[in-house]
């Protein structure tokens, strides 16, 4: 078992004929993912390195039984791409595209949710389960199969941390990059239960950032519902107080949202909070020894 993706995952890449779509379709296949189809309007009948291209997601699903989508479509068209995937019956959509207006994402999120589709992202590196499947852009080299789960709001910092886990001889069960945008399809609170239920995950690494209150909410969930050992890290402790989103923003997050409040919430809920990325592998090893009992 793994989280959200496995060997039965059949990916349709939306925007496959673009540079990033092509490069990452290739890397997904090298990882072992079944890339069943690509979609680019107007390019039906062609192929990208052997992957058949369709005009519409619905056509791709009918012809190839694709069941997950990876979206590389540029921001102005990303909303339409997501709605199309949802309407074609896709129930897992990874949105790699960055700079999607949050007003679009609000509509995308609530529409997807009403139809039972999970979104990961936007502006995210995606999800990977070594030895099974990857939907997204996390470099293949950082992974090896193992029993450490990773949930992160970052992109490259996730690669750094996952790579660090591999360097001490451990591997990953599933790694999810949630994306750093104000509105994301899957947050810590949404992802944590999946790892709690996953028999392949012994230890969880949670990587957060300053901004918003997703880490505090995650810490609260861990405190009440999560039974596996967690190693947490928050990036941005030294950042100067950010440009605030006006006064209204301040009263929503009242007393939350800074590095201090996040670290404090996590320290209350999690035994192992790393101060710097290079402390993570040691804490993971320590937690893994405990978890094996």
């Amino acid at each position: 078992m793994s989280v959200l993706v496995d060997r039965d995952t059949r990916v349709v890449v939306q925007g496959i004929t673009g540079h990033q779509g092509t490069v990452h379709s290739r890397q997904m296949r090298q990882f072992g993912t079944t890339v069943a189809a690509g979609v680019t309007p107007g390019k039906a009948g062609t192929d990208v390195e052997g992957v058949p291209v369709f005009n519409a997601v619905r056509d791709a699903v009918e012809a190839t039984q694709a069941n997950a989508s990876c979206i590389f479509v540029p921001a102005p068209y990303a909303k339409d791409a997501l709605l199309e995937a949802v309407d074609a019956g896709i129930r897992l959509c990874v949105i790699v595209t960055e700079h999607i207006p949050f007003h679009d994402m609000l509509v995308m999120y609530h529409y997807a949710r009403s139809k039972g589709t999970r979104i990961i992202g936007p502006n995210c590196p995606g999800i990977a389960s070594p030895g099974k499947s990857k939907v997204g852009i996390i470099p293949n080299v950082v992974f090896q199969p193992g029993r450490v789960g990773v949930i992160s709001r970052s992109g490259t910092l996730t690669y750094e941390i996952v790579s660090g886990i591999k360097e001490i001889g451990l591997g990953q069960s599933t790694c999810i990059g949630l994306g750093g945008d104000p509105v994301v399809g899957t947050s810590f609170v949404d992802a944590l239960p999946l790892f709690e239920a996953d028999p392949d995950t012994d230890v969880l690494v949670m990587v957060g950032e300053i901004g918003g209150t997703a880490e505090e909410d995650g810490a609260e969930y861990i405190h009440h519902h999560f039974t596996k050992p967690v190693v947490a890290y928050i990036a941005g402790r030294s950042a100067p107080p950010g440009k605030r989103m006006g006064h209204a923003g301040a009263i929503i997050t009242r007393g939350k949202g800074t590095a201090e409040t996040k670290v404090a919430a996590l320290e209350a809920a999690v035994a192992r909070v790393a101060r710097f990325p290079y402390e993570i592998p040691g804490l993971v090893a320590d937690a893994a020894r405990g978890a094996r009992r």
């Binding site: 102005p76 207006p101 852009i137 992109g155 104000p182 947050s187 950032e209 006064h247 290079y278």
Partner: protein, 377 residues
């Protein structure tokens, strides 16, 4: 984000039918006096500095005038001001209305609920952070039906409005909702919203437009934010670039890795001075431009920390080597590099041939960058 000045925000409000005081913008004392003499601004009037910082009233940036001459005097004084570090370029002159109560109203995003939030309080005219939570009402608004009748009625009730005033509020809320959605706003705030006779009037306007929606709002492209000159150049080149107080330049890719790098440098006693996030790029030219931009900020040392994903290590190395040829001798800086990930070997080899060593340990490389900034490399 694009923060609109009050007069710009009010121009947007006007387009959507939000009731406003009659007024005019002036960029000189002459313009101010003329606006009053021509009757565009009825007397008595208020003259307000058009700056983004709050607390204008207490700071002397809001004055009153009963005659065109007084309006001129007030405008002269305010246009000569520098308010909280911001040069005053415009004043807004508006009729002084007989104000009843002052209320608070805003629409913004609740990231946790993933819904717009309508915030109302009968305690307007003061900073909303200073108002007790119990006196602030929050309603999450679903974008699918949009703002509903019952939500508007609740807002009126919270604000203590009934009859004609309540109808007036409900119309204003529809306008405000349209501003929020159609202008891709992160924040629309009216504080104070004033009760004037049978109606209500927006005395102030705070509007912040989201950057990511710029592609459908070319009209905001000209509005400058509080960026430094180099930050502005970076923005044009689509490089995230922020100037801080220290002397170490940091070039990384991705916000999280950049922040983590700053954390480590600070812990080791270094002072990050500029942070530059390359983001995802496959283009060595963009990397070269980023380095040249960094050179212009004159850092004491530069720490390059890259984890290659979309941005491949060899792309970064090529761009870096090209930049090293182009940087004027006086602007050269000691460089500590750490590149890992996709095409790592190729990248390290390109750097080595240019005389730059990549250190793979994060702590060790950050220490080297701190030492270099202290002139000890």
């Amino acid at each position: 984000m694009v923060k609109l000045a009050e007069w710009q925000g009010k121009n947007v409000f006007r387009k959507y039918g939000v009731p406003l005081p009659r007024g005019a913008v002036a960029r000189s004392p002459d313009e101010a006096e003329t606006a009053v003499r021509d009757g565009k601004v009825p007397l008595p009037c208020v003259v307000k500095a058009q700056v983004l910082a709050g607390g204008r009233g207490k700071g002397g940036a809001v004055r009153f005038a009963n005659t065109p001459e007084e309006a001129r005097t007030a405008a002269t004084a305010i246009l000569a001001m520098e308010f909280k570090g911001e040069k005053v370029r415009e004043v807004l002159l508006e009729e002084k209305l007989p104000i009843g109560r002052e209320l608070y109203l805003s629409l913004t995003l609740d990231r946790t609920l993933r819904l717009p939030l309508l915030i109302t309080s009968a305690r307007g005219g003061v900073e909303i952070e200073s108002v007790a939570d119990t006196e602030i009402d929050r309603q999450a608004v679903d974008p699918f039906p949009g703002l509903t009748g019952y939500e508007k009625r609740r807002a009126a009730q919270v604000l203590g409005l009934s009859g004609t005033q309540a109808r007036s509020l409900e119309r204003l809320l529809d306008s405000l909702w349209n501003v929020f959605q159609h202008e891709d706003a992160e924040l629309v705030e009216i504080n104070p919203l004033a009760v004037v006779g049978d109606g209500i009037v927006a005395l102030d306007a705070k509007v912040i437009i989201e950057d990511d929606a710029a592609f459908r709002h070319p009209e905001y492209a000209e509005i400058r934010d509080d960026r430094t000159e180099l930050e502005e150049v970076a923005r044009e080149k689509e490089i995230a670039f922020v100037q801080l107080d220290g002397n170490i330049g940091v070039i990384a890719n991705g916000a999280g890795l950049t922040m983590a790098t700053l954390d480590v440098l600070k812990e080791l006693g270094g002072a990050p001075g500029v942070f530059l996030d390359l983001g995802g790029t496959d283009d060595p030219k963009k990397v070269t431009e980023a380095f040249l931009l960094m050179a212009r900020a004159k850092p004491a040392s530069v720490f390059l920390n890259i984890f290659g994903g979309v941005t491949r290590c060899d792309t970064v190395a090529k761009g870096l080597v090209e930049a090293m040829h182009q940087v004027p001798p006086n602007d050269r800086f000691p460089l500590v590099a750490r590149i890992r990930g996709n095409n790592e070997k190729e990248g390290i080899e390109i750097l080595r041939s240019a005389g730059v060593t990549s250190v793979s340990d994060l702590r060790a490389s950050a220490e080297a960058a701190v030492d270099a900034a202290r002139g000890r490399l």
